[in-house]
Amino acid sequence: MFANFDFDVIERSWRYLFVTGMAFTLRLTLFAMAGGIVFGTLLAMMRLSSIKPLAWVAGTYVNTLRSVPLVLVIFWFYFLVPYIGAWVLRSDTPIQVGAFASSLLTFVMFEACYYCEIMRAGIQSIPRGQVSAGYALGLTYWQSMALVVLPQAFRNMLPVLLTQTIVLFQDVSLVYVLSITDFVGAASKVAERDGRLVEMYSFVAVIYFAACFALSQFVRRLQARIAVVR
């Protein structure tokens, strides 16, 4: 069955696939995760705020972005950000935004919605009395969040946050629609140049599977280890 296949193409191109493609994918994943968790946590705090307008703004933002396919958001951002940037900076010409910056911004904004919902569940899992105890000791809202609630919420939610990051790692491949050379983008360039589509895409699938499977196994182990003693 594999008689007509030429797997040598992988041997010839792996350096390019990993050094250029995978490096970009990992960089984007990690930065988007960090930004997404920070922004998502702020969104979660807004959604749980007793100040109604804040809760409404965050809720609307999250629900809107979650109702739109990621590919569309990537397109919009890529084409609109230069104009929005120009409008904000009152410049006459669209500003120059690199592919990395544009896609990073997109993923941070988009993934923040999912991280937000995870952190919201995490914050709500902390008994109300913990916040009261913090307040009773004289801590302010921000102190009791930063010192009491969020550390526990992160700990409780770490496995889910990492699972979402695995999804993010896969979603990053969508930047391929912007002709960015991520892992999939690099593979498709080689595939089309050498006419070896099946071999290359199979290889990409195997790598993704191996990476995600290993990560999810790691998450499972972690889950058992970090259960907080109450």
């Binding site: 009395g129 105890a133 000791l137 004289g138």
Partner: protein
């Protein structure tokens, strides 16, 4: 020290507190009792502003709790509070629990906070447990750490919200002993509890609440001798009858 005047509170249209007024003088120990749902926990949480109230006012050391201009965190730092479920921070060691607010709120140095924390931990008899996590302590031990944590802030008054209700019977006394000692040292205390033995031993006054109202506010001898209200008589006969 604590002056509660005409406090009323509603959850939506349901009134949980109706025109509650009382006072706790400096060095006085006041026990608040009553059936569950009578609003006693809600009232004590109003004293340090953990629960907002819609009418009346509470002043602690002359500072109004209800006034929106009051710096609540600053005021709360001076009032110790002990909760029914201990509420130690489970992701921190005992020592970290004891020093956190001293460092972050009072701005004490780490060494100073640690010295204070360990001294108070020793006082509640738990010096050996300094580096443990709360989850590895028994309920009674956790509550004693919680009391030490509140005392670390050098409070001008202590609020206890059913401090022994979540404890196994054999652990209740170790916590009450600490509280009795505190009372005898002259700490101003407001204690919500069902422990009538404790009330008899150290309380100056007993407040009886029912249906969100203060039904009886009397000196201890009067309260246990001849409670004026029928409701308090019934309550006493039920919990002292066995």
């Amino acid at each position: 020290m604590i002056k509660i005047s005409g406090v009323s509170k509603w959850y939506g249209s349901f009134q949980v507190l109706t025109e509650c007024s009382t006072e706790v003088a400096k060095g006085e120990v006041v026990v608040v009792c009553g059936p569950s749902g009578s609003g006693k926990s809600t009232l004590i949480k109003c004293v340090n502003g953990l629960e907002p109230f819609q009418a009346g006012d509470i002043a602690v050391d002359g500072i109004s709790v209800g006034d929106p201009k009051t710096d609540l965190p600053k005021l709360r730092a001076r009032i110790g509070m002990v909760f029914q479920n201990f509420e130690l921070f489970p992701h921190m060691t005992v020592t970290q629990n004891l020093t956190l607010a001293q460092i972050k709120v009072l701005g004490r140095s780490r060494d100073e906070a640690l010295a204070k924390g360990l001294a108070l931990l020793d006082r509640v008899g738990l010096k050996a447990h300094a580096d443990k996590f709360p989850g590895n302590l028994s309920g009674g031990q956790q509550q004693r750490v919680a009391i030490a944590r509140a005392l670390c802030m050098d409070p001008i008054a202590m609020l206890f919200d059913e401090p022994t209700s979540a404890l196994d019977p054999e652990m209740i006394n170790e916590v009450l002993d600490v509280m009795v000692q505190l009372a005898q040292e002259g700490m101003t205390m407001m204690v919500v509890t069902h422990e009538m033995g404790f009330a008899r031993r150290v309380a100056d006054r007993v407040i009886f609440m029912d249906g969100g109202r203060i039904v009886e506010d009397a000196l201890k001898e009067e309260f246990f001798g001849t409670p004026r209200s029928e409701r308090a008589q019934l309550f006493l006969s039920k919990i002292l009858g066995h």
